[in-house]
Amino acid sequence: MATSIAAETDTEFVIGGRTFASRLMVGTGKYASNSQMIHAIEASGAEVVTVAVRRVDLDRAKDEGMLHHLDPARYFLLANTAGCFTLDDTLRYARLARAAGFNEWVKLEVIGDQQTLLPDAAATIEATRILAAEGFRVMAYTNDDLISALRLEDAGAVCVMPLASPIGSGLGLLNPFAIRTIKHRLSVPVIVDAGVGTASDAALAMEQGIDGLLMNTGIAAATDPVRMARAMRLAVEAGRLAYLAGRMPRREVAVPSSPTTGMLGT
């Protein structure tokens, strides 16, 4: 985790009292091979790496679990509750993940609809309240909706994670205004999670002033995931730097960059 250019001139990236080295967090799903996944994660510079909780396949237990490939001493393993559609299932998965013994953090997802995979905000808020009371550090995945985000903060989420667009869609940031609004109003960090398809999407998301970005498919489903991971790393840094630098105002008139005086023949 080399220090990024942006980090040298930036405030620390702190969530729930813990400082993280990279504002880019990555998932571990959908890679063609474990080797490709490892190389992509290295290229991304990410420290936080998400994993899912699933049954051990008892017929081929060897070489399947993520812990055979990812060193928990090097990466911060963030378990998700992906695939959960009910409050009860979500709580069960979160508790199982914590029992793995690495940390008390969870990337909370309660999916409300099979087709769009859009989050069930009401169930997510309830799950956040219950798990936060149990000592979990809840990173709550949600819609790009201010009210849901505010309720999640009230419920005890250590950060709120609105989507850029639906999971795995690669549609990029559909509503920059909504993300900016959430960022302006929340005290906890805002991490955009899901929907980033390419580097410009990542930069655009970071330019809204959000604290970090989580992605999986945008890297894993690229033709060359390792290259895309590096592109995403640079884009997150570029977007963050651009935000900190403060962009020029948009003007619907041209303003010359070169002097208007001193022209020949005048």
């Binding site: 571990t28 890679y31 909780v53 699933r54 051990v56 679990g65 378990a79 199982l96 793995a100 999986n216």
Partner: protein
């Protein structure tokens, strides 16, 4: 109801496997499994070639967090086990 008479004819003719007193019938990750009476959880995981440090075990819906205690947990007839681990995901 063409199938009903057939069902009643064969009912009682199928010989259920006699319950073996020396083994326990378990449900593990949704599938039936047997293990010798007196097997500890630790021994059962070993028999499945699993490293307890890399999995999480739920026994009859209760999560067993203390891996050091696995050797002292005996399995019982009808126990339902879920054995999970971390896999790739976003």
């Amino acid at each position: 109801m063409p199938n009903r008479p057939l069902q009643s004819i064969f009912h009682g003719m199928t010989t259920l496997p006699a319950h073996d007193e020396s083994t326990l019938d378990l449900t593990v990750n949704g599938d039936p499994r047997t293990t010798p009476v007196g097997t500890s959880l630790a021994a059962f995981l070993t028999s499945l070639d699993l490293d307890p440090r890399l999995v999480v075990v739920e026994l009859n819906r209760a999560i067993l967090r203390d891996r050091d205690a696995y050797g002292g947990i005996g399995l019982s007839e009808g126990d339902v086990l879920e054995i999970v681990h971390f896999v790739g995901g976003g």
